[in-house]
Symmetry: C2
Subunit: 377 residues, 2 copies
Amino acid sequence: MKEMFKLEIDESSQYDSPNRTPIMRKTENPLLTVADVKPSREDFVVDGIFNCGATKYGEEYILLCRVAESVKCNRDGFVAFPVIVEHKGKSKFEVVVLEKSNHPEYDFSDSRTITKGSDAYRNVVYLTSFSHLRVARSKDGIHFNVDEKPLIMPDPVSECWGMEDPRITCIDRTYYINYTAVSPDGAATALITTNDFKSFERKGLIFLPENKDVAIFPEKINGKFWAFNRPVPRSIGNPDIWLSESEDMVHWGRHRHFYSISDMGWENGRIGGGAPPFRTERGWVKIYHAADKNSRYCLGAFLLDINDPMKIIAKSKTPLIEPEMGYETEGFFGNVVFTCGCIFENDIIKIYYGAADDKICRADITIDDLYRHLSII
Amino acid sequence: MKEMFKLEIDESSQYDSPNRTPIMRKTENPLLTVADVKPSREDFVVDGIFNCGATKYGEEYILLCRVAESVKCNRDGFVAFPVIVEHKGKSKFEVVVLEKSNHPEYDFSDSRTITKGSDAYRNVVYLTSFSHLRVARSKDGIHFNVDEKPLIMPDPVSECWGMEDPRITCIDRTYYINYTAVSPDGAATALITTNDFKSFERKGLIFLPENKDVAIFPEKINGKFWAFNRPVPRSIGNPDIWLSESEDMVHWGRHRHFYSISDMGWENGRIGGGAPPFRTERGWVKIYHAADKNSRYCLGAFLLDINDPMKIIAKSKTPLIEPEMGYETEGFFGNVVFTCGCIFENDIIKIYYGAADDKICRADITIDDLYRHLSII
């Protein structure tokens, strides 16, 4: 289906087991946990800090983190959760309190969502937690301080249920930040830009619902911007990865199907964009996530032709990282490693990843080890 | 939510019942049926000609029709259907034959689709008919001749399951034709352009799956092209109408939610874009379709602010057209009126519409009668 390129495999690989990737988790993991985050309001409780975009701003390491909060509610038979509403032209947090017995039509059995309807047309009517974006800063890339306040107040229409899973792409000193904008109308993708991580410009929704896992390339290819994205169609098709083009980062088209879930056990459930790709001497490297049918999330990698990212040179046959450590297997939602950003410097890929949907960790791999890990597909 | 404008209602309306719209169905209806269409191949059978885009090309009326075909298959226990495959660099029709007993995992009970999986994750694995686009031409807008061959061969990747529901928008003598491109990867929206209805230029997929019912405005508004579209998210949200902007018709962004299904019985199931809007002295008029929970499809209309189509001035409270005539209630899929195009000339809106998913009909209404039909919402 896709044109293949020959990848030169180093036969003198020092690793006895080619399936055992020399990934180096930081001994300081987890780098950030809920204990490091101040809630947005006194009546809120932080459920997790995870799934962060990553970049360098000057000499500083910046993580733009997803922070999920819920509302303390100790009354039996009641559930409370935050939403964003418009108040005098501005956004403000508000708490919705539902008495369960008043809503026999709702299903409260999932701790993350409140749903309605049968299996065939089950609709999410509320989320039980609200995610916003928070900046964390570091000088060494390991020890981070989390800002006291959210980076930006969510839009009261398109983000009234939250902002999730930010990715950062820096082009010509402008930082393009895309993230999942959640509302009762669906999970879409929004774009903002900044030059200083203080002031921001909103660029609107760049992908319609349902579309998450958008990862933008850090330079133009053949005169166009390119982005991975992962639409979720309802009647025909699967949650697959697509590639789209743009001339201005705001308007996207020429969409093409890129990669499906595979028969390999670790990626036969869902697959999605992961971190923005970065340039290497052998092609674009893209770290992505994949889940099996039990929602166990692993990370893998693609190596793509430098002039045409639709051409896959090689990819992971086995997971690059899979949930193994206690901080990855246990948490708000266990058995998850999920990345929104990595930093490639000095031939080392520094992968920042969310662990079990409530912590931020880091694992490193040298670029040569990554090449050895990849298989020609 | 939306800013409202006051619509001047003509109190001297001549109609006793304001709910009874003076819609004029043509006595020649249906204008086109399967008997008017030559199959693409001898072993194909035409199931329907319906859901057509409509435009004027010089003095000629052009309908770009959806023609659905299936394969004659008289063997018990077998089902046969057409798909498009790539052959020596070109597209060609091919027939897939399935022996039902070899596929116990498939559900063959729906005459339109073959599905797999449980209700929660039911996936369409094949369509039982294949739709392509066919031109019909007329001098009077009533008597049409259907071309003998498809207008354009479907793309073997993004359209291997068919091309459906075309809409035509003419801007500066270029005809922009968008349609639903169906493949196992989903139902997306593709764009082609023509200046002569002979040669065409492909512009790729302009909306990712699942997104149908795209209707493009016939002129720029505030320097941008605008289009209605109808994404279908899986986990959160409904099949609602959105508005998107573009600078070049190929790349689309700044997506905004426009209108949801309502509590009114005739539009509480699905709602979608219908025909491209047209300019009137009171604002943009857009004919749309809506279905109730029993999939009974009616047509309604919006009146929108001429400088900001997000502002709804008025809309149908009752259906503009609903399935009443035998040719609308009976057919391949009964109780459907569905439009992809209308022509506004001499103060008359000529609505071409698909009836019961197998015929093309026309109904007219004067613009003044339409204004009287609309209600301030």
